[in-house]
């Protein structure tokens, strides 16, 4: 076990930011902390890193209690903050060298590590650039390079893809998976469920400072009753047809809005076939029809009653 968080409580005055939060992160996994903005993800990370004092609870990293002066533990952690934290007065190379130098004293080794980090994030052509000259995506990559250059065992990435273009986002996510393949354990926080689904081996959904579900993405999806979401684009559906549709077996919910018929079905086989038979029988004209498996947003919606991006 790399990280163990037990009953973490953090208050900001009257606001309970973390409510007895507990979880563990195992060696070699990419652990995702998924939750809407303000759910307590960053607070949890700050408490884990001892950047914030917490009211109650325990944090252990590498089996040792984490404290502000636990420098031997900090040496093995790489952190990529939500806000880009680089020096505008230093070039790309100098920034990575500076942050790497806080962990690695050997100059030769550091030079090699910095070069590797630059190549890893694809900033080879921008070594001499100052941060102000970089695009948002390149800046995020620099932020990551500064966090991982010293080859840490545990990498914590706090929303590293906020305001990043799709191309850079893809590179960043690929890079995180590569780091994991190279042996690093990763804690990844985001409110983008697609990203978390894509790269995390285990996910904890967090809301109002509480862990509401933890597991692999399949385990999380298995927790809810929704089995399939079928969408039919149709010009006209009568209220009678809608009622008859709702009466079909496995149909949990059917709604017609903006010329789209959305049918939520429970777990079971042949849901799509049953809907197609119904459409044929009712002679409903349709343009497109497609089926989707539940997402983490559906999981969140079913557990909390609100959208992940509310």
């Amino acid at each position: 076990m790399i990280v163990r968080v037990k009953n973490l409580v953090k208050r900001y005055g009257e606001l309970l930011a973390l409510d007895h939060l507990s979880f563990t992160v195992n060696d070699g996994e990419v652990f995702g902390l998924l939750g809407p903005n303000g759910s307590g993800k960053t607070t949890a990370i700050n408490c884990i890193l001892s950047l914030l004092e917490y009211d109650k609870g325990e944090v252990e990293i590498f089996g040792r209690p984490m404290r502000p002066d636990a420098y031997d533990i900090k040496r093995e952690i790489g952190i990529v903050m939500q806000n880009v934290a680089v020096y505008n007065e230093l070039t790309v190379y100098e920034n990575i060298d500076y942050f790497c130098g806080l962990y690695v004293e050997d100059k030769k080794l550091r030079k090699r590590l910095v070069e590797e980090a630059i190549n890893f994030v694809g900033l080879k052509d921008f070594k001499g650039y100052y941060p102000k000259k970089l695009s948002g995506g390149l800046l995020r990559r620099l932020n990551i390079a500064c966090g991982i250059a010293h080859k840490p065992k545990l990498i914590i990435l706090d929303e590293p893809t906020v305001a990043v273009d799709p191309q850079s986002r893809y590179k960043i996510l690929e890079g995180i998976l590569e780091l994991n393949r190279l042996g690093a354990t990763v804690i990844y926080t985001s409110h983008y469920m697609e990203e978390v689904e894509q790269i995390c081996s285990r996910i904890m959904i967090i809301d109002k400072g509480r862990a509401i579900a933890t597991g692999t993405k399949d385990e999380l999806k298995a927790m809810i009753t929704l089995g399939e979401k079928i969408t039919v684009e149709s010009q006209h559906i009568t209220p009678g047809q809608l009622n008859r549709l709702r009466a079909l077996p496995h149909v949990m919910e059917a709604e017609y809005k903006n010329k789209q018929l959305v049918i939520k079905s429970g777990k079971g086989a042949n849901n799509l076939e049953a809907v197609l038979d119904f459409i044929k029988k009712e002679k409903i004209q349709y343009g497109k029809i497609y089926s989707e498996l539940p997402t983490l947003n559906d999981v969140f919606l079913e557990i909390t009653g609100k959208q992940l991006r509310d």
Partner: protein, 387 residues
């Protein structure tokens, strides 16, 4: 020493803007110091001649001798002996002095009688005092000869007077046997240093403090295995090194251009005083750096502070020309005490306790200011970190 190197890199990035200030400040310092030096040289004594109308009712050797002697300190203007013309000449300042020798003056003078010359002058004209002195000197000397030598002719008297009055007494000023150095330039240079050095230190230190107080960077650094103590030590070491280098560069610059006047004890005190002020300036810069919140506000704060302190403390305008209330306010600033110490050092001729005591007092006050600024800055800095 990652943090120390980081600070040097931050300063290096700011070198162009700092250098612009250094070069401009030093150039202005030099030009102004040189200008003041020239002014000072011009202010040394050089004889000037007043315009005088010499009206004599007789042409005797004594009168001619007097006129010849006055010719050394006056320009004679020919005017008609007409009351209105003479009044106009005085009014329009064609002449500032009208001397009239009455009929029978020489004869009565030679007989030892009390006689008087008539003079009409521009009221309150100080240049006439010199003419009065010259006339008194001539006639008093003549009176001595007339009283001591019987049957003295006017021609002989004039010869004696000419010989006596042409004698000069050379005067040499010596200060404890040491050749007096010219401290005027040095004094002005070190006074202007209060402006330039403070400006450069505020700009550099504020740039560093902005980096230091960046919350994201602070948190990022706090995640590293570097202890806050080590981080702070390296940071403050960088500020000290920057202060030392700035001070050294600016003092050395003065030595390069004014070496011959700096090989004396006064120079040691000038340098020592500037060092104490540099420490104080570092304290001010540290305080300003803890207060500014954006890069764009640094030059504005720097200009207001440095120019304000320089103006009220006698850096640009001599303290003698400033009002007492201004000086009273200025005495609550370290620049005032720095300039006061410099002015005292420039006037130092002997180096005993009594003459040095005011200099040391001014230095101590500056050191006190430095401690106060650093203490306030530390409190503000801590408050800002906790926000």
């Amino acid at each position: 020493m990652q943090v120390f190197k980081l600070c040097l890199r931050v300063l290096k990035k700011n070198i162009p803007s700092l250098l612009i200030y250094v070069v401009i400040f030093l150039a202005i310092s030099l030009i102004m110091a040189l200008a003041h030096t020239n002014e000072q040289e011009d202010a040394l004594f050089s004889p000037s001649k007043s315009n005088i109308a010499f009206l004599s009712a007789e042409e005797t050797p004594l009168v001619r001798g007097l006129k010849e002697e006055l010719g050394k300190v006056a320009n004679f203007v020919e005017l008609p002996d007409d009351a209105e013309a003479l009044q106009d000449a005085l009014f329009f300042r064609e002449v500032s002095y009208i001397l009239r020798v009455p009929e029978g003056f020489s004869e009565r003078f030679m007989n030892g009688e009390q006689v008087q010359l008539e003079k009409t002058i521009v009221p309150d004209s100080f240049s006439n005092a010199y003419l009065d002195l010259k006339i008194d000197q001539y006639l008093n000397s003549a009176r001595l000869y007339v009283e001591q030598i019987e049957d003295l002719s006017q021609e002989s008297l004039v010869q004696y007077l000419k010989s006596d009055l042409s004698a000069d007494t050379p005067v040499e000023l010596k200060t404890n046997g040491v050749k007096a150095a010219d401290h005027v330039y040095t004094n002005y240079y070190f006074n202007y240093l209060a402006y330039s050095m403070l400006a450069v230190l505020i700009l550099g230190t504020s740039a560093l403090m902005l980096v230091y107080h960046d919350q994201d960077l602070q948190r990022r650094n706090a995640c590293s295995p570097l202890s806050p103590g080590s981080f702070n030590r390296q940071f403050f070491l960088a500020i000290l090194v920057f202060t030392g280098l700035t001070w050294f560069l600016m003092v050395i610059f003065c030595f390069l251009f004014n070496f011959k006047n700096l090989v004396n004890i006064n120079a040691v005190f000038f340098v020592a005083n500037s060092f104490v002020f540099a420490v104080c300036a570092a304290g001010i810069s540290f305080l300003v750096g803890n207060m500014v919140k954006s890069e764009s506000s640094i030059p504005a704060v720097c200009n207001v502070l440095t120019l304000g302190l320089a103006f009220i403390s006698g850096v640009f305008v001599p303290a003698e020309l400033l009002g007492s209330s201004v000086l009273k306010v200025a005495s609550f600033t370290p620049t005032y005490w720095y300039v006061a110490a410099n002015n005292r050092i420039a006037a130092l001729a002997s180096f005993n306790y009594a003459s040095l005591q005011p200099v040391f007092s001014a230095m101590l006050i500056q050191a006190g200011f430095a401690l106060a600024f650093i203490a306030i800055a530390l409190v503000l800095g801590k408050k800002r970190r906790l926000e």
